[in-house]
Symmetry: C2
Subunit: 589 residues, 2 copies
């Protein structure tokens, strides 16, 4: 199955390239005002070339018979353009739009016949466009899990792909299905299904994504802040927050005042008790608690791991991180309200985890130690930067778990459940947020359950300016102005950032700026830094190229690994290796 990983990865790469093209088309330039002479586009193309090679000769392989690299790019561009224009018109994208199948002499089935094949015993058939597939053998290998794909047994996969649009235009999907086609759908049924689909686009009412964001996927939205905007403000404006959705925004569940409530449950030893608090109750019956917290996606900087080996997931650059002041109810207080008197009481009752469930079906949990730590500052927020949390960021309620990976900060919070167990679901117990050893190249021999999912993240720092590939106009004896962000999980304040322009042979200690005044035991927000380093001159001439890198040290004296090689992992999570940018120097003296 080597090929499937590699192919999925390549399709994503193509998506990133397009998003960067879009970024340029909306007029983003470096905040320094200098022109960007970025090699990103060409780099991405070069990478794509590498991928194409791995996939074999495009003229020969089965993949490229149906989906050329250019074709994949085209579809990506279309999808992304829709997203950046805001509310996209409901739109049906059939798989064959990418890969027109060669004519085959196969039988025709009615919708009813397909519906009769929805168990392993009878065989599992699915419809996509005008084709019928027997996926019985594939079900257990479905990357999203057998239970997910079984929802489509006997039906069309397309309503599901409208939610998980990573399937669309994905050559790997096409390749897998290609071999499984067993017939054609009766043309009378094809038209009816398209109508259904058109009426039911789950992304039809999706909140607008700010056009400045770099969009990796539009459905569900995966979008990051471009470097040029990352540090404009220590508090990230709501519109510019990175977005990482797993599903459509559950608009229907978060509209209408009567629905705005939170279910509080205790699920222990087979019994389950619940109570409900309205949004109004939360605002009026509890003290309002504020916390400034930076949130980072587990995949931030995943792109930097792909130089080592392919990873699975969105190829984020450095902008899957944002900072806000959140306000809401202390989770500790809510737990007291639920009858948990403190750590000893929780232990006596067997409560080990606090589970969150979202209106979009997303589930995650955090350890009770985080929830009941009076210095843990976990809140159930209803405000983000002084206003109601925007719909795309989790309205009306969001779990804010400072110092912990983004995915545990569950949006559109529907319920909180105290349990002896972690939450169910792929985001907690599955592979999605689990970091394996660099030696793990596939999951065949991995006991996923034995690997803890990410909670706190490791120390991080990133150079935000200059940007990779930028050309700087310099004069000898002047200084390079370098700035960036730093952060660490668990509230561990960053105590030092070192920057090097000679690949780590010597270091310049940066000045810590906004965020540096935080309590180092509760430094939930990022710390900005900047440093000036003399323009490097060798034999009387200004160097033409400089590799700048940075590393941070946190309050527990953890530091960042030198290279991504030793922390590479299949899912591409928690890349905190030294961050490098390569810039060109243009001596204008």
């Amino acid at each position: 199955m080597m090929a499937s990983w590699a192919r999925r990865f390549c399709a994503r790469r193509a998506g990133v390239l397009v998003s960067r093209t879009l970024e340029k088309s909306v007029g983003l330039v470096s905040s320094t005002g200098r022109g960007l002479h970025g090699p990103r586009g060409s780099e991405a193309l070069a990478r794509w070339g590498v991928c194409a090679e791995k996939l074999g000769d495009p003229r020969e392989g089965p993949l490229f018979a149906r989906a050329s690299a250019a074709g994949a790019l085209l579809l990506g561009a279309t999808t992304l353009a829709l997203a950046t224009e805001g509310h996209p018109k409901p739109r049906v994208v059939h798989a064959e739009a990418v890969a027109p199948a060669p004519g085959r002499d196969l039988p025709v089935f009615s919708r009813g016949e397909v519906e009769g094949h929805d168990t392993l015993e009878k065989g599992i058939w699915v419809i996509c466009g005008d084709k019928v597939y027997d996926i019985t053998e594939f079900v257990q290998n479905h990357p999203g899990g057998a239970s997910k794909i079984m929802l489509a047994a006997g039906k069309s996969v397309e309503p599901f792909w409208q939610i998980y649009q990573q399937h669309l235009g994905n050559p790997a999907v096409q390749e897998i299905l290609g071999d499984l086609q067993i017939g054609w759908l009766d043309p009378k049924d094809v038209a009816g299904m398209e109508l259904d689909l058109d009426r039911n686009d789950p992304y039809a009412r999706e909140p607008k994504t700010h056009p400045a964001l770099s969009v990796h996927y539009a459905k569900p939205v995966n979008a990051e802040i471009p470097p040029s905007l990352l540090m404009d403000s220590w508090i990230t404006p709501n519109d510019l927050w990175y977005v990482r959705h797993h599903h459509p925004v559950p608009v229907e569940h978060i509209e209408g005042r009567d629905k705005l409530s939170l279910e509080l449950g205790v699920s222990l030893g087979g019994s389950h008790t619940t109570q409900v608090l309205s949004l109004q109750d939360l605002k009026e019956k509890f003290e309002k608690k504020k916390v400034v917290a930076t949130m980072q996606c587990g995949g931030n900087r995943r792109g930097g791991l792909n130089g080592v080996d392919d990873t699975k997931g969105t190829s984020w650059d450095v902008g899957a991180i944002s900072n806000a002041e959140w306000a809401g109810v202390s989770l500790l207080e809510l737990l007291r309200h639920m009858g948990v008197e403190g750590p000893e009481d929780a232990e006596k009752k067997g409560i080990k985890h606090v589970q969150f469930e979202s209106h979009d079906g997303m589930t995650a949990s955090i350890p009770i130690e985080k929830a009941l730590n009076p210095y843990g500052d976990t809140i159930i927020a209803y405000e983000m930067n002084g206003v109601d949390i925007p719909k795309k960021n989790g309205y009306p309620l969001r779990a804010i778990v400072p110092g912990v990976v983004g995915v545990r900060n569950v949006k559109w919070l529907k319920s909180i459940t105290l349990s002896s167990e972690e939450a169910e679901g792929p985001w907690q117990r599955g592979m999605n947020y689990k970091v394996f050893s660099p030696s793990v190249k596939d999951l065949n021999s991995v006991d996923i359950a034995s690997v803890p999912t990410i909670q706190e993240q490791p120390v991080q720092s990133v150079i935000v300016s200059p940007q990779d590939g930028e050309t700087l106009e310099v004069v000898p004896e002047e200084e390079l102005e370098i700035k960036g962000y730093s952060w660490s999980g668990g509230g561990r304040g960053v105590i030092r950032v070192d920057v090097s322009i000679d690949s780590g042979k010597s270091w310049h200690t940066a000045t810590l700026k906004e965020g540096s005044e935080q309590n180092p035991m509760r430094a939930w927000a990022w710390t900005f830094w900047e440093v000036s380093i003399p323009v490097p001159v060798s034999q009387g001439k200004v160097a033409t190229k400089v590799d700048i890198c940075c590393k941070a040290t946190d309050y527990a004296h953890n530091c960042q690994p030198e290279t991504p090689d030793s922390i590479w992992n299949l899912r591409g999570l928690n890349n905190n290796s030294w961050h490098h940018v390569n810039v060109n120097l243009d001596d204008v003296s």
Copy 2:
């Protein structure tokens, strides 16, 4: 002042070499039963050679006119031998035992005349042996601080050096003093002072150090567990605990039942209130709380940094770490007893730090967030592994701050003071436990106060078997059995240890053993690990040399830096770079 750092360092290197010689003389061999063919002695000598070079030509420099490398080694051996024999006989070691001064035509002063020079205005004179020195200009440059050296103004330094024996046989000390000699002490006074000294050796009643320990210094004791004993038991027997004293054991303060008490103070806004609890009170009026915690010296593995550049401090190998089950009173409960109701109350009162003071004058503090975290598990211990804490380990009371560097776990605890400020003293506010950037090669331009002292330590792992330099008898197609320990600060459990025999190009994930069942949010104790890796064979032949290295990942996904270069620091603290051992393979098939 470059020379002074380098020289002090070299003197210590010599001491380590001697301690290892002693280690062999007491018959320590690898626990595997294989013979040790260690290159350590020759390595250390080679390093010494490097140092000697840095110090200039021994035949020319002022240092080597008085103290040759061989001479320094000899003195080290004498001092250390005394320690390993247990209660040392009070003994006077004059500086000139190392470095007989050339005759000089200088005036003779009486003890009274010297006593008259004890202020900056009158000049500061001190006596050492039969010589009188004017140290007025040096006082501000004293590495231990001006206040410490001023205690000896107008007096002999030797009673102080009996406490801080790192001065003895230290060529750097000799060199500095050499230029400051202004005269000779009246021979009548010399004899009297020697008698005083002989009667007052502060180490006369020092508890015995177990002969199995590798002793770096005997006075104060700095001794570590040799690798061959490190992992014999997950709980380190009390006798084998590493010892890092800053002063003599304060025997006179911890004997006699009437003296066994703890002072509890609150020092806020200029007012200071205290109460006293007897040891009996602590045992009877509070619940007994147990915690298994591993303690690690800030300097553990310092020796591994010295390959990058010289550091200041004892050149510990990998054995400045031990594990015990402690029992005592919860610090949180003690704080409640002192009227602190919780985090909010502490904040209102302005309490930010919990200061500890020892009967030996040692001071340190921890943040209130650690003390009041109900999951922080800080205790004031009176038992170590089921018995009264031994005198050398802190009898009768010791602060046990799990997950925090050894030095904050204050022994012979005399008082606890709640304050808005950190503890005074070199171990908290001075340079002693502060980590500077690798670019800081001296302290001239460093604002020491702005650098936080160490509390939690970073993730660590060490290969304990085989040992560096060992020769293993192997057979092709067999496996190398490798084992070690791992640990991280802040209770962050170790979730994975990877081991490589090809310098990190590929990794083998170790099996986590004792300690792996700990709660990953409160994993205060170390985790043992082991892994089997096939004997490397190249072109049909067993490799003759193998470089084995390991790295651990903790629950916050922090990992260890690849090399010591980027974390090198002047004080040689927190070395957690990948641990390497080089072994020889002997194919006996």
